[in-house]
């Protein structure tokens, strides 16, 4: 392959969106062509800068409330705006499959029907994940340093959660916070992959045998549950299931290494 052909395909090569035969040819060319290798490096650099520096414009709480209310009121029978915000008419409450409570800008919803099809724990961790993103209460301790985050939990929990930094693998730690699940305080660690946030809920589960599960979907969020070394981990994110699975493997091996040390 000539430089020109290679340069034309570099972008797709970078994304691994090229057929394997061509990809090998490009790799062979790159192995002996410093100028094309440099061009690939520049392209990688600009992609990385874009991911790291471009702002990600999340929806505002008010837009989120409007949108979820639109779906909900649509399901509950096309309420007019005045009725929606006014006193609760008796009839449709029973008919509605979903109950939305709007409290001072924050909202919670419980999809009643989902309760049948999903484990209640999945639902709980997803709700916690959503709340953490909405209520501007993502982190009590914001630090990318595991040696800052871990001691922060001292005295706040009756256990010491394993905290691992996975930034070298592309999942930087952002911080942690206290959360409350199943009637007990738990540690919530926040990681990031590109612009996606990952919540890891963890607490001791001495009875639980080591296990790992493939991602399940709850309200479009992916949830992974693992038990390792007597700790339960619930991992929640809108990140794609493949990368979330990779993250959960890294997390568990990272924890195991930390304990061996």
């Amino acid at each position: 392959m000539q430089c020109e052909e290679v340069l034309e395909r570099l972008s797709a090569f970078l994304d691994d969106e090229i057929d394997p035969v061509e990809s090998r040819e490009i790799q062979r060319h790159l192995d002996r062509c410093p100028s094309c290798t440099e061009a690939l490096g520049r392209m990688k650099g600009v992609a990385a800068r874009l991911r790291a520096e471009a702002p990600y414009y999340r929806a505002s709480d008010s837009l989120r409330a409007r949108v979820s209310q639109a779906a909900w009121s649509d399901a509950s029978g096309g309420l007019t705006t005045s009725r929606r915000t006014g006193a609760t008419p008796r009839g449709w409450l029973a008919a509605a499959a979903t109950v939305v409570v709007v409290v001072g800008g924050t909202w919670l919803f419980t999809a009643v029907q989902s309760q049948k099809s999903f484990g209640s724990m999945e639902r709980e961790v997803v709700s916690s994940h959503i709340r953490s993103l909405m209520a501007s209460h993502l982190m009590d301790v914001a630090s990318t340093d595991q040696h800052t985050v871990k001691p922060w939990f001292n005295g706040k929990l009756d256990f010491s959660p394993p905290v691992t930094d996975l930034s070298t693998s592309g999942y930087p730690l952002l911080g942690g916070r206290l959360d409350y699940l199943r009637g007990r305080p738990v540690a919530a660690l926040v990681y990031q992959r590109r612009k996606h946030l990952i919540n890891v809920f963890t607490w001791p589960d001495e009875a639980g045998a080591d296990s790992e599960a493939s991602p399940r979907t709850q309200q479009g969020y992916h949830v992974i549950h693992e038990t390792h070394g007597g700790m339960a981990y619930w991992i929640v994110s809108d990140l794609n299931p493949e990368e979330l699975s990779a993250f959960s493997r890294l997390l568990v091996t990272g924890v195991a290494k930390g304990q061996a040390r």
Partner: protein, 190 residues
Amino acid sequence: MTHERKSETAGPQRHLSGRELDRFNESVLPYLDAAHNLARYLLRDAHDAEDAVQDAFLRAIRHFDGFRGVDGRAWLLSIVRNICFTRLRGRPSTGENVEFDEAIHTVEEEAPGPEVDLERQAATESVWEGLDRLAVEFREVLVLRELEGLSYKEIAHVSGVPIGTVMSRLARARKQLLLALSPSGPKEKR
């Protein structure tokens, strides 16, 4: 299958059943942030972006019975993107609503093209400014690829173009962004 209506506020209501609402909450609602981010980059106006996303959700709710797939993200983003492009076309001329022409926007270096304009300007400091200078179709493909991590196939679905077009558009977009961000605006050497 319902059909597109002109206005999202007109026409008879179609209501989501409880089961549909569950599916909607699971497969579409989680991509609200992605929808808003895309709209914000395409329209470059905070207020317009919120409006467009709200329109998109109303349309998505209305046409939810037409959603057969499993990929709620691509489905939602394609609605958002179409609404944004319609809005851009309706804006007073700012040079932005010039029809995007793959042939013009992918001219090679020897012909005067967007790259020349980019080089003439001082190199920008921030990625945001760099993106801001690109044609909207280039911003679109970069946001979908780099910020959302969509595959070429998914981008093709969202943007309604063949995968080959996604590939060439993304290559051009990266090259242009690279030029915009280069310190002294050195010309990309081939």
